[in-house]
């Protein structure tokens, strides 16, 4: 039987007859990385690019993000796409707070990463002023390939992340620095 299905390669481990031994970290990382449920927080043109990213041509579902979660409680990956005004910053924070651990954040586009061209009193100069960010995707707006690349880079982070990281003092300190 021939199949076109691509399988994710197994992590490093010891293979023997009838058994396979590897680290729990790697297995958990593999599972997490290939089923990242995105929560789109789209406010402007980057959100339009994200629609293309999710649609059939670029198809983010190929990377395990089939299920777009519109509830922060069930999402793993917050994708902030577009200009975030200062008035919206508390709402973004609230969405982030409602996500359960482990959670990751991608800042898509120049505005979410740094405020972009909107160097003005009403616009938040990058979402990393209010929430921690894992991956920044440059571009104004970025092409769908770039967004997919950002997701794949996040997958690499997720794969190698220790299962203990979210309990580590460094992580707690990071959240504390954002008053979370």
């Amino acid at each position: 039987m021939s199949t076109k299905t691509n399988m994710v390669a197994p992590p490093e481990g010891v293979v023997g007859e009838g058994f396979f031994a590897t680290k729990l970290n790697d297995v958990v990382g593999l599972a997490r990385a290939n089923s990242l449920w995105p929560l789109p927080f789209a406010t402007s043109c980057c959100g339009i690019e994200f629609m293309a990213t999710m649609a059939s041509h670029y198809d983010l579902a190929r990377f395990g993000s089939e299920r777009v979660s519109f509830s922060p409680r069930q999402a793993d990956m917050l994708m902030v796409m577009g200009t975030i005004s200062k008035k919206m910053a508390p709402i973004l924070r609230q969405v982030y707070e409602q996500m359960s651990e482990p959670r990751w954040v991608i800042a898509v586009g120049a505005c979410a990463s740094s405020g972009g061209v909107f160097d003005t009193y009403s616009v938040l100069q990058g979402i990393d002023k209010v929430i921690p960010v894992d991956v920044y995707v440059p571009g104004c707006p970025p092409r769908p390939e770039q967004i997919v690349d950002g997701v794949m880079r996040l997958q690499e982070l997720v794969k190698t992340e220790s299962t203990r990281r979210r309990n580590s003092p460094e992580y707690i300190e990071l959240l504390a620095s954002y008053n979370l």
Partner: protein, 172 residues
């Protein structure tokens, strides 16, 4: 169809002799100035008088002129429109720079409610008698009135726009 500007001017001058001034066409719209204490009467008159019947408030906005005399540093501009005759009119009133205050017209034109809030939000002009004069577009915590010229337009919290990295400093 439009109402003759001379007729409008005559009617207003007749009623508010020394409160109005500077009649004239400005950018295709007939305009005049009103002292800030009589703005309500003038607008109510223009709205309810049968011959003028300016029943629609197109726009209400503020202007900041920091270089003017202290009594004329703020301006509130009203645009009225008579749909039946298709005639527009612009009314300007100047306010004190230290204490910009003017009577609200939110009971004459309900649509001015949000416009006055916006003008307060950006210029800090106090519309007395407004039912809910608070910020409408900017965040509530903001302390400045951003369209006033003394406040910088740029966000000073920006960290990726350091002049040193762009070769903009003098000894670079």
């Amino acid at each position: 169809m439009a109402i003759e500007t001379a007729i409008i001017q005559e009617k207003i001058e007749q009623k508010f002799a020394n409160k109005v001034s500077n009649f004239g066409m400005q950018k295709d719209v007939f305009s005049f100035e009103v002292t800030s204490d009589s703005i309500r009467e003038v607008i109510l008159f223009l709205k309810e008088e049968e011959d003028t019947n300016f029943h629609f408030l197109t726009d209400l906005c503020g202007v900041h002129y920091p270089d003017n005399m202290i009594d004329q540093q703020f301006c509130v501009v009203y645009h009225l429109h008579n749909w039946i005759e298709n005639t527009r009119i612009r009314i300007k009133t100047y306010l004190n720079g230290a204490q910009p205050e003017i009577a609200s017209i939110s009971d004459i034109f309900l649509s001015s409610n949000w416009m006055e809030r916006e003008t307060y939000d950006f210029y800090g002009i106090n519309f007395m008698g407004h039912p809910q004069l608070k910020r409408i577009l900017n965040m509530d915590e903001m302390v400045s009135f951003p369209m006033r010229k003394e406040f910088p337009m740029e966000d000073n919290g920006r960290t990726d726009k350091d002049d040193r990295f762009f070769g903009r400093t003098a000894n670079c």
